[in-house]
Amino acid sequence: MTVSHTSERTAAAPRRDLPSLVLSALLLVMGITVLVDAAGVEAPPGAGAVGPAAFMWAIGGALVVLALVLGMVALRGRPDEELAANPLLPPPPHHEQGADTTYESATGDLVTEPAPAAEPRPFLRIRPAARVALLMAGLLVHAAIISTAGYIVAAAVLFLCSSLAFGAPRLLPPVLIGTVLSVIIFYGFVLGLGLGLPYLGGG
């Protein structure tokens, strides 16, 4: 799978690890939900020595314990925990971006690495948070209209919203590509696989 380059491992000062704190709270909620649900599960007679709830108790308990440990680690800040990181794995590769970098290669020549090519200016110049919001809006609209507007429209809308969110430079190409892609998928499914996708107007 792809590796996310989420944390800056160079930061020296411990900083509060907000995502881990949120995750710790979520784990706690999940753990308590599992435990409460386990208490409500009744083992029918003859279910054997271990009923359907036993595994739930174990996993619910594990979730609560992990939530507490993760919460403590997160409050201390991430760099402390890096000391306990898996020593068998190498650090992820770093990206140098921006300027060309010149260094001496193994053969002694000077090698200049080109700087990454400038990306074309996105059609929508908005902040990352707004991009995420646009993507989520596209996903939600897709699910909301798929059974009424049909697959082709719903998928084309999703394609347009996500390409704009990911910085497509112009408006027309994503509209066209999205529509063509949805039409191909639609007829591919209906004709090729015999699986139905909703038509325009539902059904």
């Binding site: 799978m1 996310s4 979520l26 739930m56 979730l63 909301a144 390409s163 969110a165 994503p174 696989l193």
Partner: protein, 499 residues
């Protein structure tokens, strides 16, 4: 020798035009998704799971195995040309491979990766052919307690190996196990964690979880943090390995295979550790130490061979024990399950023809992949030039399509988005998602084995540690969780005192 005849029959079945076509589709798709950032073999196989309703078991499993092998080949291309590993086990190849590409030796790096992958893949598939029947004989003597112990070992090692820290690996695992609980308990018919939602009685579909965690979660995080895009290096230099490069490559290929296959075949597996060990080995043995860190070909050849050998090795516990040790292997296990097949020693007797056809198709897939990745490598490198906005828009369209195809209900799409948000949170918190996938798929099977063990012993927990084998397995399982943090603390203390 019976196994050899079975394999020949497998080749006969795998070489039919239809099965060859599925192998070709599989390896082509696998290479493509291995090359493309943001999409990998686990996600691809999950997206194609709904096809299992339409296809024969052997056809779709041949295709999935092709995707699995192809993903390993393709991942190295991305590492070398873009320095953004498509696969976590290709990180090492990025270290030396990308440096080579920057010096205009990209073609040699790609060639040694492709040839090394072929050599390792073929030797390791040969290993699989000979080790699997032996493992089946051993596994036939296992009872439920042994299986349960093996699964616990797989859980803890997957959590320890696939994460940056053991704690975060365990968090991923626990989330997967909890998601696996949802739905009706198979043995008693009791509803668990359905929370009053009727759709949840059937459990949360594997497709939705894998697609949500990998595709939607990844897209949200990439978008929120800004695109991190390297430069694609043009392929320069000769298309084939020079004699000098070949002389420097063949030993690392063999050493990488020797490291990768056994470690991958352990029921603890994973491809990350052997690639790293191979890199360390080559660095120590090389006659050109000055090149390491600046583009040493041994540093690509060894780890890439180890990576592919480990991928084949992972199939040993998957096929003979039903034990997946990577996200892709877990999804392939789910594919078996959707045909009502249960990988394990009995599969080799009940569906012997299917197993041997699958293994034969792996040999064929490797040959196809060599052709796809040596003469045709330029096409794959060009895939990297697809603008990210179209790439991610396409991924999301296929992600929602795959989910919708599961049951044709828009409710599943909303569950997908919720899982996607969870996946984004996990990524931001540096929690690996692969253990969650393994936990989701292997969890219910482990529970079954535990309950079977305890009903044999009539509730006596002692049965779990009644044989030396289970005691040993549980000890290893605990060690997998405890040793890395302790080792890490010791190593970092030592490095701090020397500074």
């Amino acid at each position: 020798m019976g196994g050899f005849e079975d394999l020949l029959a497998g080749f006969a079945a795998a070489l039919t035009p239809a099965n060859l076509l599925f192998a070709l589709i599989g390896v082509t798709l696998g290479t493509a998704v291995g090359v493309l950032p943001g999409i990998g073999p686990a996600l691809t196989v999950a997206l194609l799971l709904p096809l299992t309703f339409k296809l024969e078991a052997s056809s779709s499993l041949i295709m999935f195995a092709g995707i699995y092998y192809g993903g390993m080949y393709g991942g190295s291309t991305t590492s070398i040309m873009l320095n953004t590993p498509g696969e976590s086990s290709s990180i090492i190849a990025a270290l030396e491979g990308n440096k080579m590409a920057r010096q205009g030796r990209g073609a040699a790096a790609l060639a040694t990766a492709a040839l090394g992958s072929f050599v390792a893949g073929t030797l390791a598939t040969l290993g699989l052919t000979f080790v699997a029947p032996f493992m089946v004989d051993v596994a036939l003597s296992f009872g439920p307690p042994e299986y349960f112990a093996l699964m616990v070992l797989a859980f803890t090692t997957v959590a320890a190996v696939l994460g940056r820290s053991v704690l975060r690996g365990l968090v991923g695992l626990a989330i997967g196990l909890a998601l696996g609980l949802v739905g009706i308990d198979v043995q008693t018919g009791q509803a668990r964690l359905s929370l009053g939602v009727p759709q949840l009685l059937d459990g949360i579909d594997v497709v939705i979880v894998v697609v949500g965690l990998f595709a939607v979660g990844e897209a949200l995080v990439v978008l929120g943090q800004g695109l991190d895009r390297g430069t694609v290096m043009p392929v320069k230099g000769a298309r084939w390995l020079s004699k000098a490069d070949f002389r420097r490559s063949w030993k690392p290929w063999l050493r990488g295979t020797a490291l990768g296959f056994p470690i991958g075949a352990l029921p603890a597996g994973g491809a990350e550790i052997p690639t790293f060990l191979s890199y360390a080995t080559e660095k120590r043995l090389t006659k050109h130490p000055e090149e390491f860190g600046n583009g040493a070909i041994e540093g690509v050849a060894g780890p890439e061979a180890a990576n592919n050998a480990a991928a084949a090795g992972v199939l040993v516990p998957l096929l003979t024990l039903g034990l997946p040790t990577s996200a892709t292997a877990a999804v392939i296990l789910a594919a078996f399950q959707s045909y009502g097949l249960r990988p394990g020693p009995l599969l080799f007797t009940s569906d012997s023809a299917l197993v041997w056809t699958l293994i034969a198709s792996l040999y064929i897939g490797n040959v196809l992949l060599l052709v796809l990745n040596l003469p045709l490598i330029g096409i794959w490198v060009r895939l990297l030039l697809i603008p990210p906005h179209y790439l991610y828009a396409g991924i999301l369209v296929f992600a929602t399509l795959g989910t919708y195809a599961v049951s044709g209900s828009a409710v599943d799409l909303f569950i997908l988005y919720a899982v996607g948000l969870l996946g984004a949170l996990l990524r931001l918190a540096d929690v690996p998602v692969a253990p969650a996938v393994v936990g989701l798929i292997l969890g219910p099977i482990a529970e079954q084995q535990l309950r079977r063990s305890l009903s044999i012993s009539q509730g006596d927990v002692g049965i779990l540690v009644s044989s030396p084998l289970t005691i040993g397995l549980f000890t290893l399982a605990v060690a997998a969780v405890v040793v890395p943090p302790v080792l890490g603390a010791v190593l970092s203390r030592r490095s701090r005192t020397t500074v």
